[in-house]
C-alpha cells in the first residue's frame, strides 16, 4: 500500500514522522500530503459507511412501525381503543377485538418459558461448568444448536402427530375435554423450540466467569453445587436473563408450529388445556382472505400490537438486566 517508504521496517504508527523527517524534495512532501488526504478521506468514508449502515437499521425499524401504524389507521379510527380488550372477533359483522389473541399469545409464550427455563439453565450449566470439553458435551451442544435450526413447520407436524395424542391421553385422565390441541400443546412445542436461545447464551456466559473467583470459593471449601449457586449464577444472572428474554421474543412471534397445534378458536381460553389462538397465527390464517378494508386493517393492527408487546417486554427485560448488573 505504502510505496514510497524507504525503509522496509517502517511501522504504521511512526510512518508519518519518519516520512516527513526523511523528506528531501518538495515533490516527496507533496505526494506525502496527497497521501495523507487520501488516508483521511478513506477514514471518513469508512466512518460514514458505518454511520449510514447503523442508521439504516433504525430507519428500517421505524419504517416498519410507521407502515404498521399507517395501515392500521382505518381500523384504529373505526374501532378505537376498544380493539385491545374487545372479546369478539367477528369478520362477518366487522367487530374486531384482539383480547382473545393477546391473551393466547401471552399465555402460551410465558407457559413455554416456564417449561423451558429448567432445561435451558441445566444445559447451560452442564456445558459451561461441568463438562466444557469432550465428545458428549460437543454432541449435546451441536444437538441443542440443531434444535434452533429445524424449521418450525417440522415442529408443527411432530406436535400434531406425536405430542397432541399424548396430551389428549393426559387430558382424558385429568378430566378436561380430551381434544389434544390447545394452549398447553403449543406451549410444549414452543418450549422445545426456545431452549437453544437461553442455553447457548447462558453457556457462553458461564464460561466467562473468571476462574480466580471460582478457585477462591473452592479454596474456602465450597462444593461444586455451592460454587454454582453462590458464584457462577449470581455472576451470570444478567446474561442468563438476556438469554431467557431472547427465548421469549422467539416464542411471542412463532407462527407456524403454534398454528398447527393451538386449535385456532377466537373463544377466550378458560384453562391452559383449552384451544386458543395467538396474534401471529391469526394473521397467518386470515390475511389471504381478508376481503374488506377494515378487516385487513384490523389484522395489520394485530401485527402492530404484537410489535408493541415485543417492544414493551424487551424494555422491561432491559430494565431488569440493568438492575442486575448495577447491583
Amino acid at each position: 500500500m505504502d510505496t514510497s517508504v524507504e525503509n522496509g521496517l517502517v511501522t504504521r504508527s511512526d510512518r508519518s514522522l519518519r516520512v516527513i523527517a526523511s523528506a528531501k524534495s518538495p515533490e516527496a512532501i507533496k505526494s506525502r500530503i496527497k497521501r495523507s488526504f487520501r488516508q483521511i478521506r478513506t477514514e471518513s468514508v469508512f466512518k460514514r459507511t458505518l454511520v449510514i449502515m447503523g442508521l439504516f437499521m433504525i430507519i428500517l425499524v421505524l419504517g416498519i412501525l410507521l407502515t404498521l401504524i399507517v395501515q392500521s389507521l382505518p381500523s384504529i379510527k373505526s374501532l378505537g381503543l376498544k380493539y385491545l380488550w374487545g372479546r369478539v372477533w367477528d369478520p362477518v359483522q366487522d367487530i374486531y377485538g384482539a383480547w382473545p389473541f393477546l391473551l393466547g399469545t401471552l399465555l402460551s409464550s410465558f407457559l413455554a418459558l416456564l417449561i423451558s427455563i429448567p432445561f435451558s439453565i441445566a444445559v447451560a450449566i452442564f456445558l459451561g461448568e461441568y463438562y466444557p470439553k469432550g465428545w458428549l458435551p460437543d454432541l449435546l451442544k451441536n444437538t441443542v444448536e440443531l434444535i434452533a435450526a429445524v424449521p418450525s413447520v417440522i415442529y408443527g407436524f411432530w406436535g400434531l402427530a406425536v405430542l397432541v395424542p399424548i396430551v389428549r391421553n393426559l387430558e382424558s385422565h385429568i378430566g378436561v375435554e380430551p381434544v389434544g390441541v390447545g394452549i398447553f400443546s403449543s406451549s410444549l412445542i414452543l418450549a422445545v423450540m426456545i431452549i437453544p436461545y437461553a442455553a447457548s447464551l447462558g453457556r457462553s456466559m458461564i464460561q466467562m466467569v473468571p476462574s480466580p473467583l471460582k478457585e477462591a470459593a473452592y479454596g474456602l471449601g465450597a462444593t461444586r453445587w455451592e460454587v454454582i449457586r453462590s458464584v457462577v449464577l449470581p455472576y451470570t444472572k444478567s446474561g442468563l436473563f438476556a438469554g431467557i428474554l431472547l427465548s421469549l421474543g422467539r416464542a411471542l412471534g412463532e407462527t407456524m408450529a403454534v398454528t398447527m397445534v393451538i386449535g385456532n378458536t377466537s373463544i377466550i381460553p378458560k384453562s391452559i388445556f383449552a384451544p386458543g389462538n395467538t396474534m401471529a397465527s391469526v394473521i397467518a390464517n386470515e390475511f389471504t382472505e381478508a376481503d374488506k378494508a377494515v378487516y385487513l386493517s384490523a389484522l395489520i393492527e394485530l401485527g402492530l400490537v404484537l410489535f408493541l408487546v415485543t417492544v414493551v417486554i424487551n424494555m422491561i427485560g432491559k430494565r431488569i438486566i440493568d438492575r442486575f448488573t448495577n447491583e
Binding site: S44, K47, R48, V51, I52, L55, F56, I59, L60, G63, L66, T67, V70, Q71, V88, W89, D90, P91, V92, Q93, I95, L160, V164, P165, R168, E177, V179, G180, V181, T259, M260, G263, N264, T265, S266, I267, P275, N277, S281, A284, N285, E286, F287, T288, E289, A290, D291, K292, A293, L296
Partner: protein, 373 residues
C-alpha cells in the same frame, strides 16, 4: 473537519429521505389503493408476451387448473402461470390489474365490486362441494344429517352423538355417547364460505348469530389450517366432525355424511349429485349460490367456482391478441376442459351453467367491440 461533518449530515439526510420515500411507496402499494386504468406498468403482469397469461386466486381450483392449463398448453402453446393465493387475494390482484384473470369460490361482494376500477365478469368454471366428515370408529353405516341438526351441531346446541335429534334421523345406527368435537377451517377460505352460506340459508339462528363469510366467528370448535388441517383434526379426535372439500375426502378415504336437501331427500355427495345441484335456473350474471339447491337430486352444500375477468379487455398495454387468448382459454375451460374435472373429483358444469358462461364470455369487449363471435 467541519465540512466533512456537514457532508455526513447531508448524505444522511438524503438517505433518510430516500428510505422514508420508499417506505411511503410500499405502504401505498400494499394498502390496496387502486389507481385507475392508467396503471400501465402493472397491466399484463409485467410480461408483454401475448402467449403467456397470469392468473391468481382460489386454491380450490388449483389442481384442476394445473391440469387444464398443461393440456391447453399442449394444444395451443399458451403458457398460463396460475398463482394459488386464495380467492380474496385473487380478487384484489385483479382489482390492482396485476393479473390477466382471477379465480374465486365466492362471487365478488358489493365492496369488492366498488373497489374494482371497471366491471368484472364472472364465468362459472367448475362446481365444488363441501362434505361433512366424521370420526366415529364404531359406526359403520353412513351417517345422515338434516339441515336443522347440522346447524344445531355447529351452533354448539347438540353436544353428544346420541342426541335424540341425531338419533331420530339415523334410526338404524347405534350412536355412541361421545361428545361432539367440531373442526372448522382456521384460515379464510372459499370452503368455509360455501358451508356458512348454506348454514345461513337453512338456519335463521345461524344467519343472525354467525352469518356467512370466508372467515366467521365460530361459536364452538377447533380450527385447522387448510383441508389437511381439518382432516387431521377429524382423523385424530374421536367424536370429531368437520367440513372438507369433496375431492379431499374422496382422495383420503374419509367417511362423509349424507345431507338432506331442500326437496327432503338424503343425498350422498358425489360428482353426479354435485353437478345436479347446478341444474337450476342460473341468472345471466351467473352470480348464484348453489347451496340449498332446488334440484331434487342435487347435493345441497355445493357451489360454483368462477373465473373473473374485466368486461372491457382493453386496459393498460394489453393487445387484442392477448385479450383474445384470455377469452379463448376460458371458453375452452368451460367446454373441452371440463373432461379433466371428473378424474380429479371436480363436478363438471351443468349444461345450464355452460350456456350462461358462453353468453357472459360473448359480452366481453376490446375497445367496445366484442372479442368472441
Amino acid at each position: 473537519m467541519k465540512a466533512n461533518f456537514f457532508k455526513i449530515k447531508s448524505s444522511l439526510a438524503a438517505s433518510a429521505l430516500f428510505a422514508a420515500l420508499s417506505m411511503g411507496m410500499v405502504s401505498c402499494g400494499g394498502g390496496g389503493s387502486t389507481s385507475g386504468s392508467d396503471s400501465t406498468s402493472a397491466a399484463g403482469g409485467g410480461s408483454s408476451d401475448d402467449n403467456s397469461l397470469i392468473g391468481a386466486g382460489s386454491s380450490f381450483d388449483n389442481p384442476l387448473f394445473s391440469k387444464m392449463f398443461s393440456e391447453y398448453n399442449k394444444l395451443n402453446g399458451l403458457k398460463v402461470n396460475y398463482q394459488s393465493v386464495g380467492s380474496g387475494a385473487g380478487i384484489s390482484q385483479l382489482t390492482n390489474k396485476t393479473v390477466d384473470f382471477g379465480a374465486s369460490d365466492a362471487p365478488m361482494n358489493g365492496k369488492q365490486d366498488s373497489a374494482a376500477p371497471a366491471a368484472v365478469l364472472h364465468v362459472p368454471v367448475t362446481t365444488g362441494a363441501v362434505v361433512l366428515s366424521y370420526n366415529l370408529a364404531d359406526v359403520k353405516d353412513t351417517l345422515m344429517l338434516s339441515p336443522g341438526v347440522l346447524a344445531d351441531i355447529f351452533l354448539g346446541k347438540i353436544t353428544k352423538w346420541n342426541d335424540a335429534k341425531i338419533a331420530a334421523i339415523n334410526k338404524a345406527v347405534k350412536l355412541p355417547s361421545t361428545s361432539i368435537v367440531i373442526a372448522h377451517r382456521s384460515d379464510g377460505s372459499g370452503t368455509s364460505n360455501i358451508f356458512t352460506t348454506y348454514l345461513a340459508k337453512v338456519s335463521e339462528e345461524w344467519s343472525t348469530k354467525v352469518g356467512k363469510g370466508s372467515s366467521v366467528n365460530w361459536p364452538v370448535g377447533l380450527g385447522g389450517k387448510g383441508n389437511e388441517g381439518v382432516a387431521g383434526l377429524v382423523k385424530q379426535t374421536p367424536g370429531a366432525i368437520g367440513y372438507i372439500e369433496l375431492a379431499y375426502a374422496i382422495q383420503n378415504n374419509m367417511p362423509y355424511a349424507k345431507v338432506q336437501n331442500k326437496a327432503g331427500n338424503f343425498i350422498t355427495p358425489s360428482i353426479a349429485s354435485v353437478s345436479a345441484a347446478a341444474n337450476i335456473t342460473i341468472p345471466p350474471d351467473s352470480k348464484v349460490s348453489l347451496t340449498n339447491t332446488d334440484a331434487a337430486d342435487g347435493y345441497p352444500i355445493s357451489g360454483f367456482s368462477w373465473v373473473l375477468i374485466y368486461k372491457e379487455q382493453k386496459y393498460g398495454i394489453r393487445s387484442l391478441a392477448k385479450a383474445t387468448n384470455v377469452l379463448k382459454l376460458i371458453s375452452w375451460q368451460i367446454h373441452d376442459g371440463q373432461q379433466y374435472g371428473a378424474p380429479l373429483y371436480y363436478a363438471p358444469l351443468s349444461p345450464a351453467a355452460v350456456s350462461v358462461g358462453d353468453a357472459i364470455l360473448k359480452s366481453a369487449t376490446y375497445d367496445g367491440k366484442p372479442i368472441l363471435q
